[in-house]
Symmetry: C2
Subunit: 206 residues, 2 copies
DNA sequence: GGCGAAATTAAACGTCTGTTTAATAAATTC
DNA sequence: GAATTTATTAAACAGACGTTTAATTTCGCC
C-alpha cells in the first residue's frame, strides 16, 4: 500500500516527468523536489522505473470507477451519456494535466512493456464503453450508423490534449487576459465541452 | 549547408528520438545507427542538442512551402482549400511519422527554447493560414460564423496524431489483416481524410 | 526505559554520459 | 605531387547517472 509520503513523491515525480521526460528526470531531481533523501526513492519504490510504474498504477486506478458509473446508469439516454463522458474526460485531463502529458509521451514512445500493458487495457475499456453507448443509440434509432467509434474517440482525446499542450499559445492569440490560471482553464474547459459535444452531435445524431 | 551524410545521421537520430526521447537516446546510439564514428556527431553538429535543432530546422523548412501554395490559389473555393489542407496534413504526418512524434514530445515538454521558438512560429503560420481561409468562407457566405479556428485546428492535428499513436491498437480491434504496413497506412489515411472533412463540413458549412 | 523494526542519512559504487583530444587517413588545392 | 585542409578514428576525459552500503536516527511496542 502507498502511504502519504509515497503519494507525495509520485506527485512531484509526475510533474518532473511531464516537463523533462522519464530519462530527462534524475532520481536526484525527484528527491530534491519531494524533499526526501536520494536513497529514499530506491527504498520506497525499488527503482526509478518501478516508481514510474507505481505512478501509472495509482493514476489509472482512479480513472476506472468514474467512467463505468456513467455508462451503467440506465436513466439517461445514449447521447446524454456521451455528453457526460466528454465532460468527465475534459475535467479529468485538466485536473491531471501533468499525468496526461506523461501518458501521452509514454504512448508515443511505447518503451516500457508494463506501462504498455496498462495503457492497452485502459484503451480497450474506454473504447468498449463508448462503443456500447453508440450501439445503444443505434438500437433506439437515435444515432446514424456511419462513424467508427475509434475516430470519435480519437477526436475527443486528440482535441483536448492539443488544447492543453497549446494552452500558452492559445492564450496569446485569443487575447485572454482576465483572471487567474484557474479561470483560464475553466474558460478552455467550457469551450471544449460545447465544441466536442457539437462535433459528436453532428456526426452521430440523426 | 547539410550534406547527404548530415541528413543520413538526422534520419537515424529522428527514429531514435521518436522511440526513446531526446534524453533517452545517447550519442553512441545515434552513431551506431548511422554507422559513423562517435566523434563525428560532435564534429558535424557541434553537440547532441544542436543536432536536435538541426533536425527541426531541416524538417520545418520542408513543410512551409507546401502549405502556402494551397491557400494562395484563388481558383478554388474556401472549403475545398480546407479539404486540401487536411489531406496535405494527413499525408505529411504519415510520411514523417517519426518526426511528428518527436515534435509532439517536444511540444509537451517545452524545454528547448530554440525549438520552442520554431514551433511557435510554425503554429502561428498554420493558424493564420486556416483563419484566413475561414474568413474567406465567411465573406462569401459559405461558412457559418460559429467555431473558433483554433478548435478545428486542434481537432485536425489531435485526431490524426491520436490515430498514428494508436495505430497498432486500432489494427487489433478493427481486425485489419490484409496487406503490408503501407496498405494499412493508406487505409487509415483515407479513413481520416473522409472523417475529418465531414467534421469540418458539419461545423463550418451552412 | 529499553528493545527490535522501520526510516533516514551521507558516502561510495561502478557504469554510462556527452564531449574532447591527439593521431591518422583521405581529399582538395595549387 | 607536395602541402594544406578536411574527415575519420580510438582513446581518454570529467561529470552525472541509478543504485547500494553501512551507519545513524526515529518510531512503535512491551
Amino acid at each position: 500500500m502507498l502511504t502519504e509520503k509515497h503519494k507525495h513523491i509520485l506527485e512531484k515525480a509526475e510533474i518532473l516527468f511531464a516537463k523533462k521526460g522519464f530519462e530527462g528526470t534524475t532520481v536526484r531531481d525527484i528527491a530534491q523536489a519531494a524533499e526526501v533523501n536520494l536513497a529514499m526513492i530506491s527504498y520506497y519504490f525499488g527503482s526509478k522505473e518501478k516508481l514510474m510504474e507505481a505512478l501509472f498504477r495509482e493514476r489509472m486506478a482512479e480513472v476506472k470507477f468514474k467512467i463505468e458509473a456513467v455508462v451503467q446508469n440506465s436513466n439517461i439516454g445514449p447521447f446524454h451519456k456521451l455528453e457526460m463522458l466528454i465532460d468527465q474526460y475534459i475535467i479529468r485531463v485538466f485536473q491531471n494535466q501533468a499525468f496526461y502529458k506523461v501518458m501521452l509521451i509514454e504512448q508515443v514512445q511505447n518503451q516500457n512493456v508494463f506501462i504498455l500493458a496498462i495503457l492497452r487495457q485502459y484503451k480497450a475499456e474506454v473504447h468498449q464503453l463508448i462503443t456500447s453507448v453508440i450501439k445503444e443509440g443505434l438500437s433506439t434509432g437515435e444515432f446514424k450508423n456511419e462513424t467508427d467509434p475509434m475516430l470519435l474517440f480519437s477526436t475527443m482525446i486528440g482535441t483536448v490534449l492539443q488544447m492543453v499542450i497549446n494552452k500558452e499559445y492559445y492564450a496569446g492569440i485569443s487575447g485572454y487576459k482576465e483572471g487567474t490560471k484557474e479561470d483560464y482553464d475553466e474558460f478552455l474547459k467550457s469551450k471544449l465541452s460545447v465544441y466536442i459535444k457539437s462535433l459528436f452531435k453532428a456526426t452521430l445524431v440523426k
